[in-house]
Structures are given as structure tokens and as C-alpha cells.
Symmetry: C2
Subunit: 131 residues, 2 copies
């Protein structure tokens, strides 16, 4: 299946700490950044590590009509990983994916980002950028 | 976050068609292959495309204490994409990830597989194999 997979590892995130700690805050962001450029959430799951008193990070996935978004946070390291995969079965969703991904990167405000784009469903290829 | 991301695109899958069509059958497989080698599901979401009478594929994600599994199917093309990402924060989960992934590949019985392994959290690198 031809598609685009955007991957990033973020560290030294300077965002509001609740975004790293609180699964509900993370969920709200993830659903918003998918919906804004026209991606179509069809389900989601977010898990809170730790407790309400001592949140220890969050992990979650939004399944999309176009494929999925997955986000994991490590607040103790101010670190996040991002995956956004869109298949381009009925239309090219690459522009929407880039928009959603840019919005996520902006929200986490990481000082260090390792980002890759993987073309899926064709020959293996990858581009990597560091910022 | 250092980790291992296993990615595959499968086509010409010769498995039971229900595995491609039925979200509940897919869900059962995904939870089993994660649990067997000791990965830890903490939540899951599976979405059924089409209807009970006319299932049109499934999409789902299992969020793990170790990160996530995401699977998308296109029964009309006998195609599947797989993503299994494990972070190696508190221990090396690579062996468990490879076992779970091998079990998925076995279950879908694809004639054609494009598979990649991505080391995450270090320098960008990827290996690709075709079978």
C-alpha cells in the first residue's frame, strides 16, 4: 500500500508539562491536529502511566481512515516519539500528514528533533533530517 | 528514546480472509502475538470498515507499555501493513518484538513482503529486505 510515514524522536521538549504527563491533554491535541487538515479519526486509545497524583507519561494512538497516529511521551526525559502514517489509497494524503505533523512538532517545542520520512509500499527509501 | 521499529508491507496474503476483513478476528490475533513473547498491551482500538454483511477491511492499534503495534488491512487487495515499535527504555525488547512480528508475518502468509527495521533514537538508519 503506497503511503507516507512520518517519524520523529523529540527531546528537550519545552511545551507545557501536562502535554507530556496527562493522557487526556495529549489526546485532545492528537485529535485536533488530525482533524484540522482533514484526516479522519475512526477510533483512539490513550493510556495514562502513573496515577492522577503522579502522572508518569502517556501513550496513545489514533486510528485514521487514512492509517494511524501514535505518540509516546517520557516526561522524566522531556522526550516524545511521533509516528504518523497515511496511506494514499483513494487520494494523496501527504499534504494533510505534513500539516498535522508540523502542528505536533510545534506543540511539543522540542529543542532537538530527529525526523524521517519513509515512502511505504514502494522500494525502501528513507530521508533523515536533524534539527 | 532508543528503540526498534519493525515495518512491513504485505501483499498477496494467503491467510483466512476473515483476518483481513473482520476487525475482531484481527484484534484477537494482535493481542495474542503481543502477549506471547511478553509484550504488555495497555489498551487497544480496532475499527471495522464496511458493515457486518460487507466487511471492507480493518484498522487497529495496540498500545503497549513498550510502545505500539498498528495494523491496517485492504482485503480487496489482499494487502496488509504492519508497524511494531518497541522502546528499549527499561530493558531491551527487541527479541520480543521480532518474535511478535514473525508471528504476524506467519499468520498473514503473504507471498510478497517488504520489511524494514529502523533503529530509533539514535542516528537515522534503516535496513530493507524484500522476500
Amino acid at each position: 500500500m503506497h503511503g507516507l510515514h512520518l517519524i520523529a524522536e523529540l527531546s528537550q521538549c519545552h511545551c507545557d508539562l501536562r502535554l507530556l504527563q496527562d493522557a487526556q491533554v495529549l489526546r485532545t491535541l492528537c485529535l485536533a491536529v488530525c482533524a484540522e487538515p482533514g484526516l479522519t479519526p475512526v477510533g483512539e486509545v490513550f493510556h495514562q502511566f502513573g496515577s492522577a497524583d503522579q502522572p508518569a507519561g502517556a501513550t496513545g494512538a489514533v486510528v485514521l481512515a487514512e492509517s494511524h497516529l501514535a505518540v509516546h511521551t517520557w516526561p522524566e526525559m522531556m522526550a516524545v516519539t511521533l509516528d504518523l502514517y497515511v496511506c494514499n489509497f483513494s487520494q494523496d494524503n501527504s499534504v494533510a500528514a505534513h500539516r498535522a505533523f508540523a502542528r505536533l512538532l510545534e506543540a511539543f517545542a522540542a529543542k532537538h528533533v530527529v525526523q524521517r520520512e519513509i515512502e511505504r509500499g514502494g522500494s525502501a527509501s528513507t530521508g533523515a533530517t536533524h534539527s
